[in-house]
């Protein structure tokens, strides 16, 4: 299928879904409206709600807050994940001691931490950042740990035979390998940073997309909930596009990344 054809088909899916939703929500079928507006709203209302947010400019503040929380969660979680992952991989004894606790902490559903973070860090952005960090950290940590552990022994031996000392091995072999694994988990990590931010906002905050959705839900404003969801989806897709372009720059040396350039 050509690019244009594919795009057309993709658009068609959206149009059909929206039209179906609009029709079922407004036109009675056999005397009944299948999607009662109270529960399902309709695309026109949702669309006008979104337009209204952007026209009045109220959405920008929430978008910026969520974006800022996501970025902070991603950066802090990644730095911590790389540092600890690297440390554990190079010090197997430390890793062995902490292993059960790492597993325990990772097994914990992060949502239950939200009230604690709110209690500790208040209703501002930092409780959301903390929630995002707990999600991002483990993804990056496990990837970096794996990346350092699975450095090819041949490449390591080659480094040694070329005269590298431990410090140079770290810099020229372990480090690039760890970073490449971190970058390969970039999409997941960024996605979870956003999840952490939005869930945190939803559970208690004064601003952000999660707050917007939660507020609308509180007053049974279904159009508002859907509008929030659509804005959130668009937001995540935009971030993902940025991540993809960053990834292509950073992983040129990788066969898969380069082939995907097409």
């Amino acid at each position: 299928m050509s690019r244009a054809g594919l795009l057309l088909c993709q658009l068609l899916v959206a149009v059909v879904a929206l039209v179906l939703w609009q029709v079922l929500a407004t036109v009675p079928v056999f005397g009944r409206i299948l999607l009662p507006p109270f529960f399902f709203s309709n695309p026109v209302d949702v669309g006008s709600q979104i337009v209204d947010w952007f026209v009045r400019g109220v959405i920008w503040k929430h978008l910026l807050i969520t974006l800022w929380e996501s970025i902070l969660a991603f950066v802090i979680g990644s730095i911590a994940g790389v540092a600890v992952g690297f440390w554990f991989a190079r010090q197997p004894r430390v890793a062995a001691v902490f292993d059960p606790y790492v597993k325990m902490a990772n097994a914990l559903p992060r949502v239950v931490l939200a009230p604690i973070f709110t209690l500790w860090l208040g209703l501002g952005i930092w409780s959301k950042v903390a929630l995002g960090v707990t999600l991002v950290f483990f993804i990056v940590f496990f990837n970096v740990y794996q990346g350092v552990k699975e450095v090819s022994t041949t490449v390591l031996d080659n480094g040694r035979m070329l005269g590298m000392n431990e410090r140079q091995l770290t810099r020229h072999v372990y480090w690039p390998s760890a970073l490449s694994w971190m970058f390969s988990s970039l999409h997941t990590a960024v996605g979870f940073a956003v999840v952490g931010a939005v869930v945190g906002e939803y559970l208690g905050s004064a601003a952000g997309l999660g707050y917007l959705i939660q507020q609308a839900e509180g007053v049974f404003d279904v159009a508002g909930v859907f509008a929030g969801m659509f804005v959130l989806s668009a937001f995540v897709i935009l971030i993902d596009l940025v991540v993809t372009s960053v990834e292509r720059r950073l992983l040129v040396w990788r066969p898969t990344a380069a082939e995907g350039r097409g």
């Binding site: 090819s152 041949t154 490449v155 031996d157 080659n158 480094g159 040694r160 035979m161 070329l162 005269g163 590298m164 140079q168 020229h172 072999v173 690039p176 390998s177 490449s180 040129v252 040396w253 990788r254 066969p255 380069a258």
Partner: protein
Amino acid sequence: MQAGETAGSTAVALDDATVAFRLADTRVYTAVEKARLTVDHGEFVAIVGPTGCGKSTLLNVAAGLLRPASGTVRIFDRPLTGLNRDAGYLFQADALFPWKTAIDNVAIGLEIAGAPRALALERAQGWLTSVGLGAFGNRYPHMLSGGQRKRIGLAQVLIRDPKILLMDEPFGPLDAQTRQIMGNLLLELWNADRKAVLFVTHDLEEAIALADRVVIMSAGPSARIIGDWRVPLARPRDISEIRMEKDFHALHREIWSVLKDEVMKGYAQSSQAPVGAAS
């Protein structure tokens, strides 16, 4: 190279070197037993043996990557402790740093030794040209073919000007034509300054065509060195031409008569799932 210091001396001397690995169930697997082998300065020695006989193990011992359980390793008449700093090692598997471009891969050996980056890159470019890849410096390893990667690997090792060159079936994964081209390239580069070379291969023809001496190992476990032949062929050689010569055939027949039995033994053992796969 300090020719005065090393000329005439033995580059690599393994004396009764035995290499054993401890298996998971506390049994001990002896890969190589009492190997006695010398490589003189400027000499090209090829080790040939059936698969899994411990050829690479012997090479790793000479490189200092493995310690022998008993016996001694001497490099230029000094006992080897730790890694062999006089040796360059060309590995069988891909050993280039995949995150570095070709030229950075070649330059790294000088850079970590403290050479300024500009100088290292300049020398690396020279070596890339020597191996016929002058225009490929900014490619990453995955963008190069198997043969090209081996050339980069050769340049990466040779730029440090090691006195000893250890090569572990370096052309193993390449197709027949590329192997011949690589063999000629290797001989050409080696001819320039005649380093001591220890070259492991399972291909007897390749061994005779390249080497001054061919050493045969028995099938493992507890592989031994069972034969040592001098190759009476004149240099410089052309790998593809030399295979036609009468002396080549005579020597090949002579060595093969010994090697054949070991190859069959090795084959029989490898089809019975032996303990501990050591190649």
